[in-house]
């Protein structure tokens, strides 16, 4: 199977180069890039799913003179699972991207978009099969920079440039921690080979602990743990929508993969790692969805909800680790399974939602949901798929989001009853957190879907809206169907990922979970049946009676206008009131003043807590400190001579003080 994976990497890189070479002819580079990526994704998806089903292990060591490290790749269930995610979602997104980029032809060079897109996919694949620290880092960095150049694709826009810079800073500071981790491991193990790590790091020791913390920070930056998430909400709106879909759907999961891989070679984890992850998950999930509620830029909203879902994944991991550390196979299985399944699910519905946002952006030219509304009638397919995505991301039954959250819940419940109280409490903390997150998510996506697609159109931006092209519609439909399938038949999905989960815990707890999941299928079908019955019932009841159309009942008000609809901001206002302490708010108001006020304006901006209360002040202080250092270079040659003399004296005194004592 590795051969096939290698082939698809080759295809990706080859098509990337091809697209780059053909940079003068946009159409051909678009064709080359898309074709190569689709081919590679089909090949890779087939290979990785086959590997996952047969849960085979492979490894290959290339003989190639690198200064350090070696090109060592391998394939196991975990890799196969993530490969499947990468290939499936990337393939769908590629098709969408082909449709999304078409209007740019002639307006802007397309080659970079395609080249870096394929490079990004290739880098992620290489990352997942890497079995050597250095090779891993190389792939990681290529991934970061490819995505950076994709984010700054429309770099003539100021906000895009700023977002790119934020992303660059975040990813580079993050990778510094990974450098530190691998350097430490490589130093203690004498080699950068993952297998040698596994052997040489005493499990649960201080070294393992330090490495775990480094990994949490380093990988967490990419995954978007709060407060390291700060780059996400800037980068996603800046990037072209299909890139946002890929980044949010797949790339940030590479952080999760890294964390899982680290857990594998750091040996059996102590319980506090799990507690830490549960804590991170709670903070990340809640603050992510809270900030999502405050956004009016639909892609920012989606980005924040990615942060939220990463939080859910972290909760799952935390519960799993706590279970694993207490040798409670069932809890461990449920936690890890929930996390992994949610990785896949979130990949599906988040890419779907970003694609939907992309087609809305295409149709109306705006990302501000306050100026949208009533889009459903113009773009039914987008609307329907977006609704499916919203239901899925809220974790509501019939769709895949529910299955994974259900697993995490179940794990937490079991942990509460099966573990010593101290750790039980930590695991159980996940339950109310998930409940709160779920309720907030429902509010958030009712708002998003309702304000964008339902009701009357708030501005004329919508009037000219048109449904997206087939190349964009098709992937959305397929993804939505996949969401529904996994949601209605979760047992199959679980059976597929079980081998990956069992790398962490050898739990036979699968069977009971599986039959519960089949029960879910049963109930889902009952629900679907009930709905159909009711629909028919209504048809029957209404037969022969007059069904009339009328304007919406305005409670007696004669002339309702679209601008009188509830706006997105007013929708969340009462909901956010209890949480306002957590969200920095900037108010700008002028007037009404004077006896005959002319006009008055009032504006509220809800910012990002971590960004505005922690990171921004820190960076400002840092720049200040640097500018204080700069006074040493002030141009006067006498001063420079003083530096030389002073250095000489200081060093001489320092070195000779000891020696000449005798």
């Amino acid at each position: 199977m590795l051969g096939w994976i290698g082939l698809s990497i080759g295809l990706l890189i080859g098509s990337a180069l091809g697209a780059a070479v053909a940079f003068r002819a946009d159409r051909s580079s678009l064709a080359i890039g898309t074709a190569g990526s689709i081919l590679a994704c089909v090949t890779g998806a087939a290979a990785s799913i086959a590997a996952l089903v047969s849960s085979l292990e492979e490894s290959f060591l290339a003989d190639w003179p690198l200064p350090i490290g070696e090109i060592h790749v391998g394939l196991d269930s975990l890799s196969a699972f993530f490969l499947a995610c990468i290939f499936v979602i990337s393939g769908l997104v590629t098709v969408y991207g082909a449709g999304y980029l078409r209007p740019y032809i002639g307006k802007r060079r397309l080659a970079p978009a395609l080249t870096f897109f394929n490079l990004l996919v290739a880098a992620m694949v290489a990352l997942v099969i890497a079995r050597d620290g250095i090779f891993f880092l190389v792939a990681w960095e290529v991934m970061s920079f490819a995505s950076f150049f994709l984010v700054t694709f429309e770099n003539d826009r100021e906000d895009v440039r700023r977002a790119g810079m934020t992303y660059l800073i975040a990813s580079q500071l993050g990778v510094a921690f990974l450098f530190a981790m691998f350097a430490l491991l490589g130093h203690s193990a004498g080699s950068f080979n993952f297998d040698s790590f596994a052997g040489n790091v005493p499990a649960g020791g201080s070294l393992a602990g330090i490495c775990f913390l480094l990994a949490v920070v380093g990988f967490g930056t990419k995954a978007g743990f709060v407060p390291l998430h700060i780059w996400l909400p800037d980068a996603h709106p800046a990037a072209p929508s299909h890139v946002s879909a890929l980044m949010s759907g797949v790339m940030i999961k590479m952080g999760i993969y890294g964390l899982l891989r680290t857990l594998l070679f750091l040996g059996s984890p102590p319980a506090w790692w799990g507690a830490l992850l549960v804590g991170i998950g709670i903070v990340t999930g809640i603050s992510g969805v809270l900030h999502a509620l405050t956004q009016r830029d639909i892609k920012r909203l989606l980005a924040y909800s990615s942060v939220e879902n990463i939080g859910i994944i972290a909760l799952g991991l935390g519960v799993g680790i706590i279970g694993q550390s207490h040798g409670n196979g069932a809890v461990a299985f449920l936690g890890y399974a929930g996390a992994l399944l949610h990785v896949f699910n979130h990949g599906l519905f988040k890419s779907l939602l970003f694609e939907g946002a992309g087609s809305v952006l295409h149709a109306t030219g705006t990302r501000n949901i306050e100026s949208l509304g009533g889009l459903y009638r113009h773009m039914p397919v987008t609307g329907l798929t977006f609704l499916a995505g919203s239901l899925a991301i809220c974790g509501l039954p019939l769709f895949n989001g529910f299955a994974s959250e259900w697993l995490v819940y179940l794990g937490a419940f079991q942990a509460g009853s099966g573990l010593p109280a101290a750790w039980g409490v930590t695991a159980i903390a996940a339950i109310p957190a998930l409940a709160l997150i779920g309720a907030l998510a429902v509010a958030c996506f009712v708002r998003a879907f309702g304000v964008v697609f339902l009701g009357e159109s708030r501005t004329e931006a919508v009037t000219g809206a048109h449904e997206a092209g087939i190349a964009m519609r098709l992937p959305m439909i397929v993804t939505a169907v996949l969401c529904a399938v996994v949601g209605i038949w979760p047992a199959g999905a679980l059976r597929l990922i079980a081998p990956a989960v069992q790398m962490f815990t050898h739990a036979a707890a699968t069977t009971e979970t599986l039959e519960s999941l089949t029960a879910i299928t049963r109930i889902a079908s009952v629900l679907a049946g009930l709905v159909i019955v009711l629909v028919l019932a209504r048809k029957v009841l209404l037969r022969g009676r007059e069904v009339s159309q009328a304007p919406t009942w305005g409670c007696g008000y004669a002339l309702p206008t679209p601008r009188m609809q509830y706006s997105a901001a007013s929708f969340v206002e009462p909901l956010l009131r209890p949480f306002m302490a957590l969200i920095p708010i900037r108010v700008r108001r002028d007037g009404p003043n004077g006896f005959f006020p002319v006009k008055a304006t009032y504006e509220e901006r809800l910012g990002d807590a971590a960004g505005e209360r922690v990171l921004a002040p820190a960076s400002r202080a840092f720049i200040q400190a640097l500018s204080r250092v700069r006074i040493i270079q002030q141009g006067r040659i006498q001063l420079y001579l003083v530096y030389i003399a002073a250095t000489l004296v200081i060093l001489l005194v320092w070195q000779l003080a000891g020696v000449t004592g005798r």
């Binding site: 700069r630 270079q633 002030q634 141009g635 006067r636 006498q638 001579l641 000449t660």
Partner: protein, 217 residues
């Protein structure tokens, strides 16, 4: 004959003080010329005091030093002064009195240093090391506390002289071709600096290096 050597070294020290003390550029140059001459004689005196070197080597070094340090360089510098019509006064950023005091202090420091850093093999004369240090430090003092480019050249010259005196302690370790090379470097260095000073005086109508501080961050 040792006391002759000490005499020469004393002369060097005095010339240091004089360079620091005087307010006139030309006298600075003259003092440096005298110092150069003294340095040129130094190896000879040391040789007569039984510090044995090959005669040829000795002669070449003495002649070369005399020629370059006592004659050519002073001429170069004074020509630079003439052509670049600079003010004839040094304008120190530290007042002359205090710079004299500083020079005295530096002298003291260098005596102390010579007691700290003892030569593994006894030097031909006790004064050699302290005077060498003093000359070096005085060079730095001139470089740092004077504003004109010319005085910078002189400061550099003083530093070189200090190093030269040290060189005397191991005259025989260095093949004289190298020693000549060193002298040559010094010469060319001063020469290039002179040219630079010319350019400077043409570009900025005088050579106060305070003006040479536009490049900064």
């Amino acid at each position: 004959m040792k006391d002759y050597a000490d005499l020469l070294l004393l002369l060097v020290a005095v010339s240091n003080l004089y360079i620091v003390a005087t307010s006139r550029l030309n006298s600075c140059v003259r003092a440096s010329a005298i110092q150069g001459a003294a340095l040129a004689l130094l190896p000879l005196v040391l040789w007569t005091s039984g510090f044995n070197v090959q005669l040829f080597h000795l002669a070449v070094i003495c002649a070369g030093t005399l020629a370059i340090k006592a004659i050519v360089i002073p001429i170069l510098v004074s020509r630079a002064i003439r052509e670049a019509n600079v003010r004839r006064e040094v304008d120190p950023s530290v007042s002359l009195h205090s710079s004299v005091l500083l020079a005295g202090l530096l002298m003291g420091i260098s005596f102390w240093m010579s007691t700290v850093l003892v030569l593994p093999r006894p030097a031909p004369t006790m004064l050699l090391v302290p005077v060498a240090f003093a000359t070096l430090l005085t060079g730095f003092l001139v470089l740092i506390s004077r504003r004109q480019a010319i005085t910078h050249v002189i400061g550099y010259l003083l530093i070189e002289n200090g190093v030269f005196i040290f060189g005397q302690t191991l005259a025989r370790e260095v093949p004289f071709a190298v020693e000549l090379g060193i002298l040559l470097d010094l010469l060319v260095g001063i020469f290039v600096m002179g040219i630079a000073i010319n350019h400077i005086s043409r570009e900025f109508d005088h050579i106060d290096t305070e003006l040479l501080s536009t490049l900064k961050d």
